[in-house]
């Protein structure tokens, strides 16, 4: 997997790591978005989620990301090993 930068906010970084553990992949985008997450179902029906570099409220943004990740109907089951 390509190495990605860490998000400067700890809670958002944790949300992104959680997505990756569920099979999402990160890619870089220009502008205000720090990155784009693609769900495990990598085609036109798959979910795309944008992560801001500087959201208005980072804690809220992290929670929103977790909620949207949870709504993805294509996620793989997370491995039993909770090695965070």
């Amino acid at each position: 997997m390509a190495k990605r930068p860490s998000h400067p906010n700890e809670e958002i970084e944790a949300a992104v790591s959680h997505a990756e553990a569920l099979g999402w992949s990160w890619s870089k985008v220009g502008g205000h978005a720090w990155g784009r997450l693609l769900c495990p179902h990598h085609d036109r029906d798959g979910c795309v989620l944008f992560v801001w570099s500087t959201p208005r409220n980072p804690e809220n943004h992290a929670r929103q990301l977790l909620r949207q990740i949870a709504r993805c109907p294509h996620a793989k089951q997370e491995d039993d090993g909770e090695d965070l």
Partner: protein, 181 residues
């Protein structure tokens, strides 16, 4: 008035997620308090918006999404709910709600509004929320927020713009009926 953070989602369409500045269009329009996603063919923006009322929060978020160039389809949480959704939203058990719906616990639980002849009927959340509030099973705030989402969706469907004034007026009227109840 106190400023509070209100959480809701806006489902929108009309912008392609393939264009380079897809997300920036929303950021620049003031949606930096939303997480922008593309799910099941729809643009979904999860907002956590600070405002003086739920009506102001929804109206200003709708205006921002439209300023980004997208068409607002509806506001969620979904206004049509099954008994499990109701349980999750009010914190009662699913078993308790089944008893309510069957009239075993109390007689006047609202009738379902859609798919009433099927095994899986759906209720209008605002109607149920008002009933739950009257039974002291749901906070007044939650009942008002449920009605705000319902009113906003009705206003969107009717093409009312800007949303702020009609929404504020209808919510005030609703709050007066809650006082009177």
């Amino acid at each position: 008035m106190m400023v509070k953070t209100y959480e809701f989602s806006i489902v929108a369409s009309g912008l392609s997620s393939a264009v380079e500045d897809f997300a920036d269009q929303f950021f620049d329009a003031g949606c930096d308090d939303a997480a922008v996603a593309f799910q099941k063919g729809h643009i979904v923006l999860d907002f956590a918006r600070e405002a003086e009322s739920i009506g102001d929060a929804i109206a200003s978020a709708v205006a921002a999404v439209e300023a980004a160039g997208a068409k607002v389809e509806r506001i969620e949480p979904d206004p049509l709910v099954n008994l499990s959704d109701i349980a999750a939203r009010c914190g009662l058990t699913r078993a308790a709600l089944t008893q309510y719906a069957k009239g075993q616990r109390s007689r006047d639980f609202p009738a379902p509004s859609v798919r009433v002849t099927s095994d899986s009927p759906l209720w209008d959340w605002a109607t149920v929320a008002r009933w739950l509030y009257a039974q002291r099973k749901l906070s007044r705030e939650a009942a008002v927020e449920a009605e705000a989402v319902r009113l906003a969706n009705t206003a969107l469907a009717a093409g009312d713009r800007p949303l702020a004034a009609p929404l504020a007026q209808r919510l005030r009227a609703y709050e007066q009926t809650l006082e009177a109840a």
